[in-house]
Symmetry: C3
Subunit: 263 residues, 3 copies
């Protein structure tokens, strides 16, 4: 993949409205991430308006981190709007192994065929096992250990699955890419993964999903590398990361992205 | 207006308790904004206690950004407490054009005659059209285009209406002021407008509403200018902005405020 | 107390999973505080899953800052899980004097005998008066004025009570410690107290509660002192504080902690 910068340029040019039904912990930082990358964020979760709002948005993200039954219904209704309209939506199964409520909600969301599923290796392994084989849920699961589960999950949804880790793995069930950008401090700050969902959604608007997802992961990781060079710890990393996203240029992204096809 | 610093001094001297029923995205940053300016914030939205809590507060802010039906009831009950007590409350119709739920809730809150309504030009144009003429809702509406709507809205509520933008417009339906402070990065950070509502509420405690609102807008903008001189992007802008609010003196505010009467 | 660093080392070695049912204002910063100190945070409040999730966690914190009836039930169910398992849980009665709802919920939580209760002097005085004598609720209550109430409350719960202030007071109803670390800016930033609850919970995992609580207060205060030396105001204090927690070593904590027994 030689042109991730083109996807960033597209976001900057169009400023897509990204509708997020995300957890409470992520809302503020995720909105700032989306503004920094050039998109327009909206955090709208109430069932009274979620589906109507989805009709206005170019993309949607759904994250079960602090969901409850009412939120689950809003997520399903908003995702259905995006699916009918052929617009991208990203599903993040945060902590799906932890409770039956998360597993049942996640299974129902998978039935709506998310454009992109993004999670860590343990979450992807758990998801792939829902309604089927035994669950593999170890906190220490490696990205490599989840590659087969990611491909199986992509075949179920007909979309793309991204496994986050030191080197990310992205697959549509047939082809796969690895993205090797990032910084270790990104794992020491809350909601870095949740906020990435918004960037993926923005990059996918009007673009081929597999490449757009990889470009989003690369952009996020390159900004993380820049922030890591300036930070003295996880506190100073956060403003530096938002600054780096805001200042990232397509040219710099093309020069620093480490995306390669899995052969 | 020659003395906005006097309003800041009053907040510093009295540390008013400001009760906020605001959206989830804004809660943390808004509380820190209020602490930095010298007020005492409380975020209390549950219907089980919102009205009772309002009875303890010197001012209230209401923001529909992440409201639902239960929140709407709590907003109405808390606003009614402030109205009966003659204490100021500020209403922010975030994204009112987006959904019917927001329009109906906003219309019901306008009936309670907020002391100050603050929004961007599109929001004020939408609000002024509720229950009446056709809606003008363009994302690109200019502050100038909303001046007539602001005056009409102020006449409906009997209060003050503030239109945020590069140059803010504040009117009570008879007189009007323009406030020309601020920095472009303020539009690239989430909940800057939401958090401003708290500063307006604090400045209005025991003060004439039109001038106090303009003074609050000036203080916020002057702090933004100071932060903009230090920031490398929207990430580093945020801590610099809170520092600038905290360090802002009445004398510096008087020297830097750009408030003028509309003649 | 000569070895608070040993408690920090234990957290770093074991990375305990701390389950938090905390207020919306605190969720993000508190999660980052827990990550910075070396623990693993989870913010899970929905009644659909709170008790089940508590079964996975090494410690729990409960904070009534933005609770409602459904949250209250989830808090009670999760706390009961921890009590049955003999695992530590920390209760923070934020603003308990403000509303009847908070007083009734707090009283019911006290019946579940929290391992640690942490609050400011006014909150501890109010709590001690619940279901009993007259309430003393002044915003200006000093830590000293709450020492007797803290001891009485510790005797009711059979646990530890910590009173936060310029010099903290920690008691199990028989013995008491004072912790004299901290920085004045910590009182000018929201949710500093709420986030401390998580650090206390993490330090108490598998350790004697009174000493672990004092060690947590000292670690938090020492990090605050380091941040205070770098900050230009409450905005820059926050990233500096997270950096300082992350960089704090057991050796530095032992050298800077000011914990002494009350004799």
């Amino acid at each position: 993949m030689t042109n991730p910068g083109a996807y960033l340029q597209s976001v900057r040019d169009t400023g897509p409205l990204v509708h997020n039904i995300t957890n409470f912990v992520a809302m503020n930082f995720m909105a700032n991430v989306l503004l920094a990358i050039g998109a327009s964020p909206a955090m709208v979760h109430a069932r009274e308006e979620a589906a109507e709002f989805a009709g206005l948005a170019q993309a949607l993200t759904v994250n079960i981190g602090t969901a409850d039954t009412a939120w689950g219904a809003a997520m399903q209704e908003a995702a259905a709007v995006m699916a009918r309209a052929g617009r991208p939506w990203v599903f993040d199964p945060v902590g799906v192994a932890a409770t039956r409520f998360r597993q049942e909600l996640s299974n129902s969301l998978l039935d709506l065929r998310p454009t992109v599923v993004r999670g860590n290796a343990s979450e992807i392994l758990t998801l792939a096992g829902l309604g089927g084989a035994a669950q593999g849920v170890d906190a220490g699961d490696t990205v490599e250990a989840a590659e087969g589960a990611a491909a199986a999950l992509a075949q179920r949804t007909g979309g793309v699955v991204a496994v986050s880790g030191p080197v990310d793995y992205v697959t549509d069930g047939a082809c796969a890419l690895r993205v090797a950008n990032g910084h270790p401090l990104m794992a020491r700050i809350t909601v870095m993964g949740c906020s990435l969902n918004g960037v993926i959604a923005a990059f996918c608007v009007g673009q081929p999903t597999l490449d757009a997802t990889a470009a989003a992961l690369a952009a996020y990781g390159v900004a993380g590398e820049a922030a890591g060079r300036e930070a003295h710890g996880p506190g100073s990393f956060q403003p530096a990361f938002l600054d780096a996203l805001y200042r990232l240029t397509p040219t710099a992204l093309d020069a620093s992205a480490r995306v390669e096809a899995v052969t």
